[in-house]
């Protein structure tokens, strides 16, 4: 699933704001960025970071240098454990023409040597926006790993999985938080399976923050499952 395939799929589906959030790495997100700029498709840079508690956290940027800096720091926090392609597949970094830039040797499916709190601080310091990923999932989520959403980290919003929308769930632990849902696509067919419609003046991180806070007329309009509409606000 190359960045170029993702971009074309997104364009075909009429998605007008996209982010590729690879696990503990930035390279494919950077490639998507270059492609999106060519096609004038709004995008955010992003990563899905795994903390030492094995919680997945999405971190978004709209500024290249900050993203790259953050990416390097996260990479440095990954243990020096090598990938085993036989079990985890090759970890491929691609360019805009789907050429292999390199095969990542460090196991990306690992936890970074940083706590949830540490990661949130670091991301914020670097200008990123933190959103806990798939909080309802049975593993690698805030609820699976901590059993709760830590209030003292003041998350602006939480991501719930497409399954959460499908089942029409309403977990008490997420009450009071703006909820977002995205495709979390691991295969091409999953792209666009869930989307969130945001009311913003322009596709910037600052606007995204305002939308999550419901300030100055910006907001989360609705979440959509492919084929159906779910969950206002």
């Amino acid at each position: 699933m190359s960045p170029s395939l993702i971009l074309n799929q997104a364009l075909g589906l009429g998605i007008n704001l996209i982010s590729v959030t690879d696990h503990n790495t930035t390279t494919n997100s950077l490639t998507l960025g270059r492609l999106a700029l060519r096609k004038n498709l709004p995008f955010f840079y992003g990563m899905e970071v795994q903390t030492e508690e094995e919680v997945h956290i999405l971190v978004y940027f709209d500024e290249l240098q900050s993203f790259e800096r953050f990416g390097n720091e996260v990479y440095g926090l990954l243990p020096e454990v090598k990938n085993d392609p036989q079990f985890f597949g090759d970890q491929v970094a691609l360019d805009e023409e789907e050429n292999i830039l390199y095969l990542e040797e460090k196991l990306l499916l690992n936890s970074c040597a940083i706590s949830l709190q540490g990661l949130c601080s670091l991301a914020e310091k670097r200008g990123g926006l933190v959103i806990p990923a798939h909080v309802d999932a049975s593993h690698f989520s805030l609820l699976s790993q901590l059993g709760m959403i830590p209030q003292d980290l003041h998350f602006k919003a939480l991501e719930v999985s497409p399954a959460y929308l499908e089942k029409g769930l309403a977990l008490p632990q997420v009450e009071g938080y703006p909820l977002l849902s995205f495709s979390d696509a691991h295969y091409p067919g999953e792209i666009g399976r869930a989307t969130t419609l945001l009311l913003m003046e322009k596709p910037t991180l600052e606007e995204f923050r305002l939308a999550l806070e419901g300030k100055r007329g910006r907001g989360i309009l609705r979440k959509e499952l492919r084929g159906k509409e779910k969950g206002h606000g």
Partner: protein, 115 residues
Amino acid sequence: MVQIREIIESLSLKVFAQGQGVSVERGYTGDLLSLVIGSAPSGALWITVQRHINIVAVAALKEIPAILIAQGLEPEGDVVQKAKEEKIWLLGSPEDAFTLSGKVYQLLQGGSLPR
């Protein structure tokens, strides 16, 4: 060194998936996959409350012949099939990880369990 079947019998373990006829001389208890990847010894019986598909990949990677899921938790959907394919024992018990660890430890030390 204890034959896996002896452990299964002594602890009345539920068998979700059958693995290879191995003898076990070590155990490892832990739920953070990153720690298992980093430090679980090969050949160990792994006691955990994790029950999702990634436990099989991690067990295969670390040459762990058997996974014992504690607290009466059951493996998720496709996990059983995956374990069968990898020929890894997938076992279960209603007892908690602490108790199971103690009992397995005792068995591996050559002891026997009170009836």
